[in-house]
Symmetry: C2
Subunit: 334 residues, 2 copies
């Protein structure tokens, strides 16, 4: 093969940082595309690195020696390994982006509470009717999934003077003490939330966990922020909740079957190639993006110069460790 490592889904700023931190004596392939969006279809290097949108061909499994995902979530690799004969050495980035994601969650909250789009439109006539918003201080914030990202959200929420509820299998006393976080069950967290944030990892247990039935328990005026994984909040359910006014707003950075949505939005695929259920999800996602009470961003909450720097440095260290010692520094958990 022509290269030692092939990097997919590398955006411009990230490529520059990777070139800076990677050891110089190896040959690297970079592309902004996902694997399925590249034309060739052949494997250019024994080690590949992706983010979350690439679909790795099953037939590559025998030629690959290792996979490194430049993301905190690794559900896509777990799914891939289920479909091949033997798992491969694989690594991921457990912690690089928690702060960036948490700050974006607060940006989304403030935009809804302060009716920011309307404020900006109203400048045209310098009018103020219908622009009265709400303050974050004193509101109840329910954090579903209090891991690395969730606890950073609790940290900021505490500084904002909010009441914090958390839902997690593991309760951590230090978060109770530092941020006044109260652990409750999911139905209580939903009923009391003014704002509900999904910060769960995607697993078999969390798949479609925040569905129509669960989110129907929200109080009127509540908003949902999902900066974790789209598969946890089915888009058809969100549309119905918005329509029935059970959700006042949705701030969303992640999408169910995101790689399908991404390819479709870029015009790189057609709906004809999709199955019935995939097509339904795609249509619901597209309706969600157009909805007036949805603020949507393209899986970009992680994307700050600070986290990009942390990510590229940690990726380069992992790749170097694998090239030189045959093991990643942060391998996938068993």
């Amino acid at each position: 093969m022509e290269f030692d490592v092939a990097f997919y889904e590398v955006f411009a700023e990230e490529a520059a940082l990777l070139r800076k931190y990677l050891p110089k004596r190896y040959r690297y392939f970079f592309t902004a595309k996902s694997i399925q969006d590249t034309e060739t279809g052949h494997l250019p290097a024994p080690i590949i690195s992706t983010r979350t949108q690439s679909l790795i061909p099953r037939k590559w499994a025998d030629q690959l020696s290792a996979i490194f995902t430049r993301s905190t979530g690794f559900d896509h690799l777990t799914a891939y390994f289920r479909g091949v004969d033997h798992p491969l050495p694989a690594g991921y980035l457990p912690k690089y982006a928690a702060r960036a994601v948490a700050e974006q969650a607060f940006l989304l909250m403030l935009m809804f509470l302060r009716k920011m789009d309307r404020q900006r439109q109203a400048i045209r006539h310098f009018s103020r009717d219908g622009l009265t918003g709400s303050e974050l201080r004193g509101k109840t914030l329910s954090i579903i999934g209090v891991g690395n990202i969730g606890s950073e959200i609790a940290n900021i929420g505490s500084g904002m003077g909010m009441s914090l509820l958390g839902v997690d299998l593991r309760e951590r006393r230090e978060l109770r003490e530092a941020y006044g976080l109260e652990y409750v069950d999911l139905s209580r967290a939903t009923a009391r939330a003014r704002i509900l944030v999904c910060a769960l990892p995607l697993t078999d247990q969390t798949y479609r966990m925040l569905n129509y039935r669960v989110l129907s328990g929200l109080s009127p005026g509540a908003i949902l922020i999902n900066i974790a994984r789209g598969e946890i909040t089915p888009p058809e359910d969100l549309l119905r909740l918005l329509k029935e006014e059970k959700l006042a707003g949705v701030g969303i950075d992640v999408y169910d079957q995101e790689s399908v949505l991404g390819s479709s939005l870029r015009g790189e695929s057609t709906e004809e190639t999709l199955g019935k259920s995939e097509r339904r999800t795609l249509q619901a996602n597209r309706q969600l993006l157009e909805h007036p009470r949805v603020i949507a961003t393209p899986h970009n909450a992680f994307n700050t110069s600070e986290s990009t720097d942390r990510k590229s440095r940690q990726t380069a260290q992992n790749i170097q460790a694998y090239l030189e010692n045959g093991a990643f520094l942060t391998p996938l958990p068993e």
Copy 2:
């Protein structure tokens, strides 16, 4: 006169709350318009209440018994009293909106640091090039004017893990201790700021204080947030600083000669009635509103349901006190 109290510049939500809190036995006049935008020109009540955009006719001074401004700033009343024979009893609202304004300042900061407009545009093609933002944590925030609003900004900034610099005539030890705020002089605050927030009252001393010369001292990439008074940051100067890349962005809620801008945007006045300097300011303001690196809101940072409630309650208490005892609870300082 037909009424006991006339309220100008009352938007819809505020009117409902005032009706709720005001004593029932008096007659009230409400209009969303400023005084100059109402047609009649005659004074409908001996007590008037405005916000900041009304121009009170000089000839009313002899018929008026009192003025209450539903705002924290009262520079417009000070200016009015300079032009009439004798000052009138006058009241204002010293503290109702500090939290609302401070939260909006952070919303503006986050929108710039996270390139939020670009993020939302990029969803159309689900691309991420050029979307890398910055985190608030660890950045230096310079607060010019650390009064009620400025200290609430310091409170939130401290919770966000920012480095805080403050500029004020009066240094308060409690702010140093609570938020790690460091008092410095204006040139130092400017040179070190990643974000500079103007939270000054408008006085003879602060008029045009943050002008071209002063803000030229900012470091590359710095942004300015003004949620105080537009007269402190001349719009012509902001345009020049943006053009010369000395300012990366401006988040602005307040405008130099705001009543002129408001009337002009609503099509209620023409430029022909304006003097040369007013016309220049109006044109600069209009260019600012169109600038791609400006986020503009219509003097709305104060406007939350929490602060509207506090404001209407405090206004009603002041009006009642004046009607019954001839004195406001929070009169203008001497």
